[in-house]
């Protein structure tokens, strides 16, 4: 079981969290012309690396805040957790 350190609440069991996917994806800016390619990149295309992966998690059964986790996708080692704006 993963032990995830919520940046707001501290160490908690994986069971309190929901996964939110790749944390490096940014939405194309609003009120601007968006090309098909930009939209494709945002909605569908993912690197899904083997190794270090920055991802979003949601402390859904806790403080309900979203935050980011840097984790190894093979060993599941968590290197750091941080607030989205950090």
């Amino acid at each position: 079981m993963l032990n995830i350190k919520c940046p707001y609440c501290g160490d908690r069991s994986q069971k309190e969290f929901a996964y939110g996917g790749d944390g490096t994806i940014t939405r194309p800016k609003l009120n601007q012309e968006i090309s098909d390619e930009e939209w494709d990149n945002f909605v569908y295309l993912r690197k899904s690396p083997r190794g270090k992966h920055i991802e979003l998690w949601h402390h859904i059964a806790g403080c309900r805040q979203w935050f980011k986790v840097e984790r190894d996708t093979t060993t599941h080692e968590i290197f750091r957790t941080f607030k989205p704006e950090e």
């Binding site: 079981m1 993963l2 994986q14 069971k15 996964y19 996917g21 790749d22 098909d36 390619e37 939209w39 494709d40 990149n41 909605v43 569908y44 295309l45 993912r46 690197k47 899904s48 690396p49 083997r50 992966h53 991802e55 984790r71 996708t73 093979t74 060993t75 599941h76």
Partner: protein
């Protein structure tokens, strides 16, 4: 090649089964092949077999990083079905059903295909309506679909919990009686043996480390056992697709996730088909040995670890015990995991790529095993003819950017909850 039969079995019994031929050779890689298939799983081996059989291309290598039968072909729960609503998925998988029915004879290897049927359970009137719609779509594509009411389901699985005060009472279900199971290792071994006998080189313990591309055309690949030249390369590596895509500077609509399964201790026959309990994130069948074979959700976060975590197994078995209370008294024998190439719409990709001579076969999500023959057949056609077959033209790589999704369950792009 030595033919397997009751006579060869008796004959070899006299020599204590010590004189059987090797099922396939262990060749050193040649300098050049007409086609190289990366990935010696079910799909890769089937592709090589159909390249040789249907297209007479026998100067083929199958490159496998591990060993034959060590990946998802040996890690799945062996379910074979074609209960899809969309035409592209339904036709493709029904084509595969016909290949499954003759597979043991064709490969001269008993794959123990057993059409014991599948039931998807429904728990509301709305779900019954949705299943009626899916069943009708299936029947329009010539697939046997039967909508069962509560009493009919009870006749088939009387040991399920049919109380009315449970969270998900059983209203009925959608059955495909021609669906079934097969012995998954035998499928890999059967395809490998036949491909080998027609001249295909099966090269194990050989990792691909890079690709050679000149002027937009693929010319060869680098491996841990030397460089290999080839003008046509097929990528068939399931959960490792993203790793090889990175070496090709490609980003794909695929995420790699871990899926677990488990079996109980063997018990006497209790369940003759496959039952899926979608509301409880659980499905089950009983193997010929008597083990209850069970699975459910992904672990839920990107993963390349071929083993999973306990919370998911607990979650799956909680659903299992809710449906079949007798499971609570069984001991679990073992659990294992495999890494899935989860596509953004839940349907696969079998297509050419922007690199000339590079072909892509991925995105099998939970359901790669049933598609082994149809995927191999269509991928072989795509590679040999350098164009997609009508059976796999819906599985295009650019369908995401073009908006022609095949989202069978309407779940969207969160691959980890689909």
């Amino acid at each position: 090649m030595q033919k397997y039969s009751v006579f060869s079995l008796i004959k070899n019994a006299f020599s204590n089964h010590e004189k059987w031929d090797l099922a396939w050779k262990d060749p050193t890689p040649k300098k050049e092949y007409d086609v190289v298939i990366i990935g010696g799983g079910g799909h890769g081996l089937a592709t090589a077999y159909y390249l040789a059989k249907e297209h007479q291309i026998t100067n083929v290598a199958v490159i496998e990083k591990g060993w034959i039968g060590g990946g998802n072909i040996g890690r799945n729960t062996t379910i074979i079905r074609s209960n899809f609503m969309y035409d592209d998925n339904a036709r493709f998988n029904e084509f595969g059903m016909n290949l499954w029915r003759n597979m043991s004879q064709e490969l001269n290897f008993n794959v123990m295909f057993s059409p014991r049927g599948i039931i998807n359970l429904a728990h509301s009137d709305a779900q019954m309506n949705a299943y009626a719609r899916r069943g009708n779509s299936m029947r329009l594509n010539g697939i046997d679909a039967v909508l069962l009411n509560r009493e009919e389901v009870k006749k088939i699985i009387p040991m399920a919990d049919f109380s009315e005060d449970v969270r998900y009472p059983i209203f009925g279900g959608l059955a495909q009686p021609s669906a079934g199971t097969a012995r998954h290792d035998a499928v890999a071994w059967g395809y490998a043996r036949q491909a080998d006998s027609m001249g295909v080189d099966i090269i194990q313990n050989c990792e691909v480390t890079g690709f050679d591309i000149e002027a937009g055309k693929i010319t060869g690949l680098r491996t841990s056992r030397g460089d290999i030249k080839s003008k046509k390369i097929g990528l068939c590596v399931a959960g490792s697709t993203n790793v090889l895509a990175e070496k090709l500077n490609m980003t794909l609509p695929i995420e790699t996730h871990l899926l677990q399964a488990c079996v109980s201790e063997p018990v006497k026959p209790v369940l003759d088909g496959v039952v899926t309990f979608g509301a409880g994130h659980f499905y089950i069948s009983q193997s010929d040995k008597g083990e209850m074979v069970m699975g459910g959700d992904l672990d839920g976060y990107n993963s390349y670890a071929q083993k999973g975590n306990l919370p998911t197994i607990q979650h799956v078995l909680t659903g299992g015990v809710a449906l079949f209370p007798f499971l609570s008294r069984l001991k679990m024998l073992r659990t294992w995991g495999g890494i899935m190439d989860m596509s953004m719409d839940g349907s696969p990709i079998i297509d050419k790529t922007h690199i000339d001579g590079l072909y892509l076969n991925c995105g099998w999500c939970y359901g790669g095993f049933k598609s082994v023959p149809s995927s191999g057949w269509t991928f072989a056609h795509t590679i040999a003819q350098d164009r997609v077959h009508e059976l796999n033209e819906g599985f295009s790589l650019n369908r995401f950017s073009k908006g022609y999704l095949l989202d069978e369950k309407g779940l969207g792009t969160k691959t980890w909850i689909s």
